[in-house]
């Protein structure tokens, strides 16, 4: 018979098996039970609509204020100054891509002055920097200036196996395909002053890319330049000695592989002195291209882009129009459900 036969220990043992009587263990936690009613949902839509539409308008206007001028210089625009009646693209093809150079001059006009800071980009179309085999073809340890063999991910641009047997510096397909056209602007006959400082991410330049010790020896004798490069990494910038090797800013910008097959990369920034103090004045310009980079074999296209920026960035009205669109949808939802709510309320009123 239980009860009388239980000892103190049995009783305590049975007591200790019972779960604690806390709110958490007994599923009694206080909870907010949100039920979305018309009174809570309608204000939400109204608020969203009333905030998004003005934000969208501001963003669209901001984007409209950004000025941009694109010049596609892949083929027909860029006629060789040396060979008659051939485009630079054809000139490279005729020389079988053995590293020929072609120059061309393109005249264009800016019908509005580009006030403020002006940025120059090169744009590539149908260029898949986001291809998986391409993205992994790099050696970040080598880019830190560390000793050691180039990583195997860089293959087939790891070392010069047919020639000297030395490692490529920098190795990999991304480095090998570095953009090497030279683009400069003339305003009438005056050179447009530009700078190539500050085009790369500051963290990249400070932390991720470091030249090894004894850099000139490293780049010129102990390692080879990548097969598609005309000069070694140590000779990339003749005018500024710090801008060479792995720390060359054009190189760093190129190594940041773009997300989409149509992309642009920052090339130069306007130096605002003398004639260009306020930006690029309205008028006639000439783009001087040293055409080294062949893209026609894969139906790629090259562009030179002149753009100002806004407090947000470049010229892209998408975000502004999206805000407006979503705001309008919310307002319409608000109005529709408001009307439904009112009519339903009237219909459901109990008879007097």
């Amino acid at each position: 018979m239980p009860g009388q036969g239980e000892t103190e220990e049995d009783h305590e043992q049975q007591k200790s098996k019972k779960p604690a009587d806390t709110a958490f263990k007994q599923q009694r936690l206080p909870a907010w039970q949100p039920i979305i009613t018309a009174n809570t949902a309608l204000p939400v839509f109204l608020i969203i609509g009333l905030t998004f539409i003005p934000i969208g308008i501001v963003l669209v206007i901001t984007s409209e204020r950004v000025l941009e001028h694109d010049i596609d210089y892949t083929d027909t625009n860029c006629m060789s100054t040396t060979a008659a009646n051939t485009t630079c693209a054809q000139a490279l093809e005729n020389a079988n891509y053995t590293g020929q150079t072609c120059t061309c001059r393109i005249n264009f006009a800016l019908d509005k002055s580009f006030d403020g800071d002006v940025y120059f980009y090169y744009g590539l179309i149908n260029y898949y920097q986001n291809h998986r085999r391409y993205v992994r073809s790099r050696d970040d340890n080598q880019l830190l200036g560390k000793e050691g063999a180039a990583a195997s991910e860089c293959q087939p641009f790891q070392k010069n196996s047919t020639g000297s047997g030395k490692d490529y510096a920098p190795c990999g397909a991304i480095a090998n395909s570095k953009f090497n056209d030279t683009l400069s602007l003339l305003y009438g006959s005056e050179n447009v002053s530009v700078t190539n400082v500050g085009i790369a991410w500051s963290t990249d330049k400070a932390v991720k890319f470091k030249n090894p010790d004894n850099a000139s020896n490293y780049f010129t004798s102990t390692h080879d330049k990548p097969p598609n490069w005309k000069v070694t990494a140590w000779e990339l910038d003749e005018s500024t000695s710090e801008n060479n090797g792995y720390q060359n800013e054009d190189f760093i910008v190129w190594m940041r592989t773009a997300a989409m097959p149509t992309f642009r990369k920052l090339y130069r920034k306007l130096l605002r002195n003398s004639t260009f103090q306020n930006g690029l004045p309205k008028g006639d310009y000439t783009l001087v291209v040293t055409y080294n980079y062949p893209v026609t074999s894969f139906a790629g296209r090259k562009q030179f882009i002149i753009s100002t920026t806004s407090w947000m960035g470049g010229k892209n009205p998408f975000l502004g129009w999206s805000y407006i669109a979503v705001g309008i949808v919310c307002m319409i939802t608000f109005v529709v459900f408001f009307i439904l709510h009112k009519t339903w309320k009237i219909q459901n009123r109990p008879p007097m």
């Binding site: 949100p34 932390v207 997300a259 989409m260 892209n316 939802t333």
Partner: protein, 296 residues
């Protein structure tokens, strides 16, 4: 009645109907029946513990059976369904984006997000919301469920998890992934996300989208919750915070720790881009708008 006969009765019902059977007993002679039934409930105490040991659920007294069924049974059914559907939803939402990205990278198999952020997605950033849904969510309080036993019916007609519901959630996940990916893609089409004219790379886009996904997925868990306890709040807001914290730390470890060179500097550049913040306000709200209306 012998134990074997008790088990055979249950077996007969199981074979001749489509119903789920439950057997409750307290003695050693009930063990056979408890094990044969779909759900076996043992009563611990008067006649020993054999029945309790062999059962799926153990209760202290026979009268607790009503609470087990009408409160915990219904809660458990609804919670399990939500956790199941939500787990499919959050994974489809993130990983289908790799398919959309494949259209833009020549189907080369390049991933949009960094590999460890993908791996830790289920382990850390979206682990807490389904746990909150599964452990704490309830449509009504225990008293209400006991007072209106007819509410038990809502767990008896396959309403919370069936083929139609499952595919609706999957399509919902695909819809969210389309909005999240393509709106972010269009937002950063021209690459220049900074007033100083600099451009980003594929991971800049990837990390922005990843942040938006965490927001959408965690808030979706909140939208599906019928009751927000303080632990639910911690699960949802804490998950989002854990991603921000991880992101900041992860963006700063190379080259001190030889891991993730491609992430170096990401947090700084994502957070300093106004496109990111404006997109954060717009894109998750756009994704969840339809869900909000539907739940209403």
């Amino acid at each position: 009645v012998s134990p074997k006969q008790k088990a055979e009765v249950v077996e007969l019902i199981k074979r001749s109907t489509d119903d789920i059977t439950l057997a409750v007993g307290d003695g050693a002679n009930d063990v056979g029946m408890i094990q044969t039934a779909h759900v076996g409930v043992g009563i611990m105490g008067r006649e020993g513990v054999q029945a309790a040991c062999a059962s799926d659920y153990t209760i202290g007294q026979f009268r607790f059976l009503t609470k087990l069924l009408f409160v915990h049974g219904v809660w458990s059914y609804r919670r399990l369904c939500k956790v199941l559907l939500y787990s499919f939803y959050k994974n489809i939402c993130l990983y289908v984006m790799e398919l959309w990205f494949a259209f833009h990278n020549g189907f080369s198999g390049q991933i949009l997000f960094e590999r460890w952020t993908i791996a830790i997605y289920n382990v850390l950033f979206t682990a807490a919301p389904p746990m909150a849904l599964g452990l704490l969510d309830r449509c009504c309080s225990a008293e209400t469920m006991m007072r209106f036993p007819a509410m038990y019916k809502m767990s008896q007609n396959r309403s919370d998890f069936n083929i139609k519901v499952f595919w609706t959630w999957c399509l919902n996940a695909v819809y969210h992934s389309i909005i999240l990916y393509f709106m972010s893609y269009a937002m950063l089409r021209h690459d220049v996300a900074y007033s100083n004219g600099q451009v980003g790379d594929y991971l800049l886009l990837g990390n922005m989208i990843y942040t938006y996904v965490i927001f959408v997925v965690c808030l979706k868990a909140g939208l599906e919750s019928d009751s927000w306890t303080f632990l639910t709040h911690i699960a949802i807001w804490g998950s989002i915070a854990s991603w921000f914290l991880f992101f900041i730390i992860y963006s700063n470890i190379w080259p001190t720790i030889p891991l993730a060179p491609e992430m170096r500097g990401m947090a700084k550049y994502v957070f300093s881009s106004l496109y990111f913040w404006l997109g954060l306000l717009l894109i998750p709200i756009t994704a969840l708008l339809a869900d909000f209306i539907y739940n209403w």
